[in-house]
């Protein structure tokens, strides 16, 4: 349908190409040829009118001729690479917390000298964001110097999102020529992960699963009563057993169960196989794993534990944050989880060792698990966050457990039972989780419709009994 238009346009395009600083702004004219049939009608009506002696038909032919003449002689709208249209975006919160909605107000200015009766805009919503209210598309008729404003709402998704140039079509009054171009404005929206702690998260220890940290069987300072023993010189006064003194007249010292802070590494499975979602619109398992990692991270830091962060399985990007304590660690973890490339909402291009043979791949993967093990200090527990949609995460958990690490698997469930095949895959996953539990590995099976806190509470009942 499109063909070269007038001389001006050609010259104009050449100028546009010469301008290298006008970053990738392209102007294309497109004849819609919507008036193509009208000239034919005009000739037909004029002929019939002349033959039949009907002045009305000749007049009707004149109407057709007017449209054909207008469409044939119209100039393209005066919007060019050197400007003409300008766009401004206003976000009511440029740094929202993931999950919030953000209103985007778009103002479109006509800086040309001419009236633009037909401006059609499609704003360049970043690919990772979902429009939840309104439309990023708008039609505006703009007088010289006028501004049109429209707005819509997007749901903030974790990560940094850059708005793309808005696609603009400017048409002449008859709609014959459509000039397509882009108008850009640098707008960025950075959605940070909310690091909200869940109430409490039992860690794997050697004794009872009572609330809190890792407990030891060694007596000493602490909260929970452990034993009494004879007083030794130098024992702190607040631990003297005064009841015993009153009853028996001799000094004794209370021993409490010693608690010490745990060291935990959160390992997020970001292999391609982990990018699974129950439906195309639902968040995928990596997104939920990252969300869970953020919550666990915050919960453990609040409790005074050392927490670290690692990604597993993206060949292009690897995230590693050594376990540590405190506010700085919290900030670092939040930054990394928000937009480290390893936690990209888009799956990696290729799987790890995708080009290798199956057995070789297994071997290299195992070596990676061993490397992870070597990297961690001896007493570090591992939280593995993975949907467990294939056999590998379970193998990884077992291997780490075999190296003597306490492993807890947090598994966002992306499966559904909508079709027989999917139901089969769902059951396979359930089997895998059952096997892990049988092997003594704790699993938090987190289904799509419950909160992480609830999933932990459910899992916890199992651990207590």
């Amino acid at each position: 349908m499109s063909r070269e238009t007038s001389d001006e346009t050609g010259a104009f395009r050449a100028r546009g190409e010469g301008l290298e600083e006008s970053d990738d702004v392209d102007v294309r004219d497109h004849r819609t040829e919507r008036w193509q049939g009208i000239g034919g009608f005009a000739l037909f009506a004029a002929g019939v009118g002349a033959l039949a002696g009907s002045p009305g038909l000749v007049l009707a032919a004149a109407v057709g001729a007017a449209y054909a003449g207008y469409a044939g002689t119209i100039d393209p709208p005066a919007v060019s690479t050197e400007g003409g249209l300008r766009i401004e975006r206003h976000l009511d919160d440029p740094e929202p917390v993931a999950g919030e909605t953000v209103r985007v107000r778009v103002a479109l200015h006509n800086d040309t000298e001419g009236f633009l009766p037909d401006v059609r805009v499609v704003d360049g919503v970043p690919p990772g964001l979902d429009v939840v209210e309104g439309s990023p598309r708008h039609g505006a008729a703009l007088r010289p110097g006028a501004t049109a404003v429209f707005s819509y709402e997007v749901r903030a998704m974790r990560g940094t999102h850059r708005f793309q140039p808005a696609q603009v079509v400017v048409a002449d009054p008859s709609g014959e020529i459509e000039r397509e171009t882009t108008v850009s404005a640098a707008t960025e929206i950075r959605c940070r992960l909310s690091l909200s702690a869940i109430e409490d998260l039992p860690l794997r220890g050697v004794s009872s699963p009572a609330a809190g940290r890792v407990e030891t069987d060694a007596g000493g300072a602490g909260v929970e009563f452990h034993a009494t023993r004879e007083y030794h010189a130098g024992d702190p006064l607040n631990r003297i057993d005064w009841n015993r003194k009153a009853k028996l007249g001799e000094l004794g010292t209370l021993e409490y169960r010693q608690e010490r802070a745990a060291t935990v590494a959160l390992v997020v499975d970001v292999r391609r196989a982990a990018y699974r979602a129950p439906s195309p619109r639902a968040p995928h398992a990596v997104e939920r794993s990252v969300d869970a990692a953020g919550r666990v991270f915050a919960t453990l830091l609040d409790a005074g534990d050392h927490v670290g962060l690692a990604s597993f399985g993206n060949p292009g990007a690897e995230c590693w944050l050594a376990p540590a304590l405190g506010h700085d660690q919290r900030a670092r973890g939040r930054e990394l989880l928000t937009d480290h490339p390893a936690f990209d909402p888009m799956p990696p291009e290729s799987d790890m060792y995708a080009s290798l043979r199956e057995d070789r791949r297994e071997e290299l993967r195992e070596r990676l698990v061993d490397r992870l093990h070597d990297r961690l200090a001896p007493n570090t527990q591992v939280f593995l966050l993975s949907p467990c949609c294939d056999a590998f995460p379970a193998e990884m958990a077992r291997r780490l457990e075999a190296h003597g690490r306490a492993v807890t698997v947090v598994s966002p469930d992306p499966t559904t039972d909508e079709t027989p095949l999917r139901d089969l895959l769902r059951m396979e996953r359930a089997d895998r989780i059952r096997d892990l539990r049988r092997a003594g590995i704790r699993v938090v099976d987190w289904s799509a419709d419950e909160s992480l806190a609830r999933a932990v509470a459910r899992a916890r009942e199992r651990w207590v009994s």
């Binding site: 919507r34 049939g37 009208i38 009506a45 004029a46 009118g49 002349a50 039949a52 009907s54 002045p55 009305g56 000749v58 007049l59 009707a60 032919a61 004149a62 109407v63 007017a66 449209y67 003449g69 207008y70 044939g72 002689t73 059609r120 499609v122 919503v125 690919p127 990772g128 964001l129 979902d130 429009v131 939840v132 439309s135 990023p136 598309r137 708008h138 039609g139 008729a141 429209f150 998704m157 079509v169 009054p173 709609g175 196989a273 990018y275 699974r276 979602a277 129950p278 439906s279 195309p280 639902a282 968040p283 888009m346 799956p347 949609c389 294939d390 992306p414 499966t415 999917r422 996953r429």
Partner: protein
Amino acid sequence: MTPGTAPEPASRPPSGEEIDDAVDRSPARVSVLLSIGAALLALLVLPPAPAGLLGVPGTALLGVGALRGNRKHVTYGAAGVLLATTVAGVVGARPEVVLSAALLSVLAWDLGRYGITVGEQLGRAADTTRIEVAHATLTAGIGVAGAAVAYAAFLVTTGGQPVVVFALLLFGGFVVLATLR
């Protein structure tokens, strides 16, 4: 058994812009209404016989096409109304009647297709009222201007001259304008 393939591979995160069926791309309302309105007005203006035989089916086809987003149906429908107009002209309807019916059916044709275009490009959820009204007004303006010039020429020249003279006059004027360009 393929253990590596679980539910739905989420190849890309959900985004309203990416998933096409999320945008309702049916024709824009205002243009569709104006298009059907123009065709109905043309029917009212035309004498009953050609209007009934050719105009009514044409308008129906145009209406269905404009609502459903089918450009061909809009064009065939408008052609039906134009044919009715031509027949009316041949059987001797008044020039004003033929002129206004032709203008209205051309407008119906254009607005129906414009509504489809805007619907495709911007979708139903977008606010497109202003460009639709602007387009309808300006397009009507072009037609009315052309009709006014022709009608003025008609009033001035009709002193017994045959219609052929008038037709040639208009045609010549058009050719001159086209070459000036």
